[in-house]
Symmetry: C2
Subunit: 356 residues, 2 copies
């Protein structure tokens, strides 16, 4: 889920003096109180927040803990939810990696101070700026031992795919702290690569459907570069990149790897085998065939029952409702509960575990 | 299938004088006889030709008609095959659009002179340089009426997705001539966009598995921009982009279009409905799940039985054998025969039709 601020000025007390001045006096994309990051060029024609998610007392959708409990946590009797922030992962779009990392750190401190103490059901993602791998690793070591930070978090928009050696300091730090690296859809702007494979799409709905291509590339790259051989505890979590494309890509990767594995002699297993053990994906958005049963045979073939974790995307427009999501009966327990508990070390029935 | 030359010098007699000198005297990427285009940065570690496809009498794989008959056309009793050239579509990678178009035109004349008269089973694709839409349209009008050119052909590597208004002159010319526009995997270099969604992949097998992302983008773009409303006879043919990803992308496009169709008021149907009527894909490569039956329920859901056309990719390394390809029994006739006959206007039992 996405926690939010009503003004990015909440970060000011947490920024080093130089960057506090930068944010107070310097250029911002949307006037004072807006967040310093590059915005993607595909603008949602109705904005991307649920219109009913604006708190009755005012403020931005996702900014009011009590209303979030009413609309989500209490309503659906949710044991644990992971806060992923709203604009924070867009720090990946900034040209200045030091400013980006300072903003990520300020966000993390704000979450630790203002969100986590309020509700024991909440965990949080530790946002880092991947364009500065050494700084990201330092941030993971600074706060990654906090028992309520469940994973490090970067945007799916990136300069390179995340298996690239450029990012290995991030994987190294995650391994030290025992944290998964989560990759959330976003950051498709600024210094990051075009997020689709044949130049810029035009419309929001067109682009949104294609943004899953970033997830495909990160899965392929982390496997091919041997991240899961080098750090056997490493876990990649794709958040909001969809799931229906996974079998197609894993079948293609297996086929091409079988023929040309000489390129990557450090690998010892098929790409799909690494994926099954090391890659997790959230169900949001769960794709919807005409015949709902058509979604599952391919996912079954690649073992996705052990890889998927339910996510809501609250409070965004394409929210998946936990009460009405359509899963095969034998997928329900692992996807709604067991897979996330296993990944994050959350015991069943325990509100918040000392999870590592 | 891919017909080839043993030296790109075969094009010289067909080039205008200025570009003939350019090719004879100017810079070439691989010395005299090589083809003037930018090469993709992912180099196949064993080259990408079938090692048994080199003609016994010498020359490049795919350059000897008699050997091609022995290995493919006669051996499998093939009624019709479409020649797609080998390096010709890489003209799309060149910065100079006039040179690119001249090379495409020279290739087309060479095919018309040297290949088509030899064998009545052969049809050919008319190669154009998409970075020069006006020139491409002129080339389609120059030769597109030739009864043995079955479609116009561009690379999947492109500067923009092919629904973009930049390319509408090409769609207009195809509509005039009644030709499908085929998009073949390739051209992923030079002036074209990075072919995957999160920056450059590293290894050939990794990149090859991901190159299908270009196909996803072209399908979404041609549908979203209303190409199939503006030119109701238009057909997009994806060649060698794989097929297993198609349902995932169409489900996502339908879902996003349903929510945000106000962005594209010229559309009157769901993206998947346009795809079913206007998009065709070749089976090469046919993805291979652990359980072969797992491939088909999703494809059935989007009506792919009417969209797929068998292709071999002869003489390349990942050739699909028509005798051993695994299709559900009820898919065999349309995929191996009927869908291509309907698209290209080839009557059953007729060796080469006056097909338009």
């Amino acid at each position: 889920m996405h926690n939010n601020w009503s003004s990015a000025d909440v970060l000011l007390p947490y920024l080093p003096q130089a960057f506090r001045e930068y944010m107070e006096r310097g250029e911002l994309p949307g006037g004072r109180g807006s967040f310093p990051a590059a915005h993607r060029p595909w603008l949602h024609p109705e904005d991307f927040k649920r219109t009913d998610a604006t708190p009755p007392g005012g403020g931005a959708a996702g900014s009011d803990h009590a209303y979030m409990c009413e609309q989500l946590l209490d309503r659906y009797a949710i044991d644990h939810a992971i806060l992923n922030g709203e604009e924070a992962i867009e720090v990946s779009t900034l040209a200045n990696p030091y400013y980006a990392q300072a903003l990520a750190g300020a966000y993390n401190d704000w979450v630790a101070d203002e969100w986590l103490p309020r509700d024991e059901r909440l965990l949080a993602s530790l946002v880092v700026a991947p364009q500065d791998p050494a700084g990201a690793a330092a941030e993971i070591r600074r706060l990654g031992g906090h028992p309520r930070f469940a994973q490090a978090l970067v945007s799916s928009g990136s300069q390179r795919p995340y298996g690239d050696p450029f990012y290995h300091p991030i994987w190294e730090a995650c391994a030290e702290l025992g944290l998964p690296l989560a990759v959330h859809l976003g950051g498709n702007a600024g210094v990051n690569a075009m997020p689709t494979g044949c130049g810029p799409p035009t419309f929001f709905w067109e682009a949104h459907a294609l943004l899953c291509e970033t997830g495909m590339g990160h899965v392929a790259s982390t496997i091919a570069h041997g991240v899961f051989e080098r750090w056997p505890g490493a876990r990649l979590v794709l958040v909001e990149c969809g799931i229906a494309w996974l079998p197609a890509i894993l079948w293609r990767l297996d086929e091409d790897y079988r023929a040309l594995r000489k390129e990557t002699p450090w690998l010892r297993r098929l790409p799909s085998e690494y994926a099954r053990d090391h890659v997790r994906l959230t169900t949001q958005p769960l794709e919807t065939p005409c015949n709902p049963a058509a979604l599952w045979p391919a996912l079954e073939d690649v073992g996705a029952r052990d890889m998927l974790m339910f996510a809501t995307d609250y409070p965004h427009w394409d929210f998946d409702d936990p009460a009405s999501i359509r899963l095969p009966p034998e997928w329900r327990e692992p996807v709604m509960d067991g897979n996330a508990r296993a990944l994050y070390g959350l015991s069943a029935g325990e509100a918040v575990a000392a999870h590592r």
